[in-house]
């Protein structure tokens, strides 16, 4: 499904060149739960954003069903992210002026997605909070809202960037259970974290260190 081939990404900061990911290759099959574990600054987020079509690697290819996602035109690239990818971030990135329900409906683009909002809210114990604004939610509730937004349009791949980074152990478990549930229902998960306990949920685990697979 996903074929990451020798990707390298370097950043320039003044006179210094910093290699975020260095010649990384691996494959993700459909319905894999892939955990990428690494310390802060190991290049996990760069790798995840590259796979999500947000960071163009300097070299290498990322193939989705044998198509290079960086050879897609802008419109097709937008459609790829909209239809195939769901993002969950450590910082939630909910829109402060939208309610829980509206934040989720932002990602909907068909009637079936809208119809799925209430069952998902129920499943994530957010029904009572659907008309609340992000500022009125706890961090766990915010992350669950962000999770529903990521999967409401039924993407094939869920990319989760340190999704439990801001959560306490109890909320982390709730969220990871929801991600596992998504995986069990046929979804493909690529989760990056510095916390090696998440590998307990993964079917595959890789480790990144200073941008290289170890």
């Amino acid at each position: 499904m996903l074929d990451i081939q020798n990707i390298t990404k370097k950043y320039k900061k003044g006179p210094f060149v910093y290699t975020a990911i260095d010649d990384v290759s691996f494959k993700v099959k459909k319905n894999d739960f892939f955990a990428v574990i690494g310390a802060s600054g190991s290049g996990k987020s760069t790798l995840l954003n590259s796979i999500g079509g947000l960071i163009h690697p300097d070299t290498g290819k990322i193939l989705y069903n044998n198509n290079d996602i960086y050879k897609l035109n802008r419109k097709a690239s937008d459609r790829f992210r909209k239809e195939k990818i769901g993002f969950v971030f450590q910082q939630f990135h909910l829109l402060p002026y939208l309610t829980v329900e509206d934040n989720i409906s932002m990602a909907c683009f068909s009637n079936s997605h809208y119809e799925n909002i209430n069952p998902m809210l129920e499943k994530c114990s957010l029904t009572e909070l659907k008309n609340k604004y992000p500022s009125e939610l706890s961090v766990g509730e915010k992350q669950r809202t962000a999770f529903i937004r990521a999967i409401i349009s039924k993407p094939e791949i869920l990319l989760a960037d340190e999704p439990t980074g801001n959560l306490d152990p109890q909320n982390s478990k709730v969220l990871l259970d929801l991600i596992e549930d998504f995986h069990k229902n046929g979804g493909t998960v690529l989760l990056v974290s510095h916390d090696s306990t998440v590998s307990g949920y993964a079917t595959e685990t890789i480790r990144l260190e200073k941008g290289k697979l170890t």
């Binding site: 987020s45 760069t46 954003n49 999500g52 947000l54 960071i55 802008r74 419109k75 937008d78 459609r79 790829f80 992210r81 909209k82 239809e83 990818i85 993002f87 971030f89 450590q90 910082q91 990135h93 829109l95 402060p96 002026y97 939208l98 509206d102 409906s105 932002m106 990602a107 909907c108 937004r149 960037d161």
Partner: protein, 388 residues
């Protein structure tokens, strides 16, 4: 979710910034509307003052010495058809209310006591309708055939109910019904008698003749006398034009000055408001980088993001321009009633301006948000979303 709903919710969420942007549109549009409305009122005021002053342009045969015009009967007459030719000319638009007049000194008019007086006789042709100009209310004397209007000094010598009698050039007496007795200093020379032109031509044996045309100079950008003179002389080289200067001149100068100020103040205020708006939009984009980043991560296209920012500018521009139009009109009505005597109660919303306002200001505010919108469309989603 409908992007428009997103834009509206964002406007209401960031109330202060939206309110300031709205205020900039209101200020710019209301100042523009107020100045324009006041300048229109000033133009109307000038026109009305000029009407109040009476006809202010004299068109008469070239070479006439105006000092002699009232005292000596040596002015050359010309055909009354000249008035109609001018009125039917496409190129003659610098004056209004063309009135052909035959004016002569009459040396030996006897009052009811038999005393002899020197008086002025004026025969008025009906005001000419200028074919290629919009129809206007007439302002000259409308003297019906068989009647006369008496100046204040003459009226003192004609008893009420009595007719006005005068000897014609043929030695026969002519009688006219007195239709009006004017107050001192009102409307006509006090020692004058106003006739219908045909009647006076008959009394004096000057059928088809007049010796001056009176008219009202229009409010022209490039000076009414110069314009009127050129236009008359391009048609009749044997006529010339002179102007009776008046308060209208001062008013017109005031109006021109006001237009000059307006031409400076309106762009200055609009540009200042646009700069403030541009800055606020830029600041808004900086605050919203993560928001825009997440929209991009969810597959929202660059073009749609651009449209969403421009839509915000359009919505605020439209709302502000509508409010600005009405507040500008209220300001114009308030200050106009203090400034203008004649038009005080006639300052009304200029509806044509309303349509321009609601088209131009939203467009200008969209232009001011263009650079911030471009910045928004180029936000690096990965970079903003990875920041902790």
């Amino acid at each position: 979710m409908n992007p428009l709903k997103l834009v509206i919710k964002e406007i209401f969420y960031r109330k202060i910034s939206s309110l300031i942007i709205l205020l900039t549109v209101i200020i710019a549009s209301s100042v523009s509307v107020a100045i324009y409305t006041l300048s229109k009122a000033s133009e109307d005021e000038t026109r009305k003052i000029m009407r109040e002053q009476g006809l202010n342009l004299y068109i008469y045969p070239k070479g006439t010495n105006l000092i002699d015009f009232y005292s000596v009967n040596n002015t050359r007459a010309f055909p009354e058809d000249y008035v109609d030719i001018l009125a039917n000319s496409k190129t003659f638009d610098a004056v209004r209310h063309l009135t052909g007049i035959l004016q002569v000194k009459y040396s030996d008019w006897k009052d009811h006591n038999g005393s002899s007086h020197q008086i002025i006789l004026m025969g008025y042709k009906d005001e000419a309708m200028q074919r290629f100009l919009p129809k206007q209310e007439t302002m000259g004397f409308d003297v019906k055939k068989g009647t006369v209007h008496l100046g204040a000094l003459i009226a003192r010598n004609v008893d009420p109910g009595e007719s006005f009698e005068i000897l014609g050039s043929d030695g026969k007496p002519y009688n006219f019904k007195v239709a009006g007795r004017l107050e001192e200093g009102k409307g006509m020379i006090d020692q004058g008698v106003a006739f219908n032109l045909k009647d006076l031509q008959m009394v004096l044996g000057m059928e088809g003749k007049i010796n001056k045309i009176e008219a009202l100079g229009c409010v022209c950008k490039d000076g009414r006398i110069k314009n009127a003179r050129n236009q008359v002389q391009s048609i009749f080289t044997d006529l010339e034009v002179t102007e009776i200067s008046s308060i209208a001149d001062a008013r017109e100068n005031q109006r021109i000055m006001m237009n000059k100020y307006g031409a400076f103040i309106i762009p200055f205020i609009i540009l200042s408001c646009l700069l403030v708006t541009g800055f606020l939009f830029y600041q808004n984009i900086i605050i919203r980088t993560r928001e825009i980043g997440i929209l991009k991560a969810m597959g929202t296209g660059t073009f749609l993001i651009l449209i969403m920012i421009l839509s915000k500018a359009f919505i605020l521009g439209l709302a502000g321009s509508i409010l600005g139009f009405f507040s500008g009109t209220v300001i114009a009505e308030y200050f106009g009633s203090e400034i203008f005597r004649f038009t005080a109660l006639n300052i009304k919303p200029v509806w044509a301006l309303f349509y321009y306002t609601i088209m131009i200001f939203p467009l200008l505010w969209m232009i001011s948000s263009w650079i911030p919108a471009l910045v928004a469309s180029r936000i690096d989603a990965a970079e903003t979303l990875s920041k902790e």
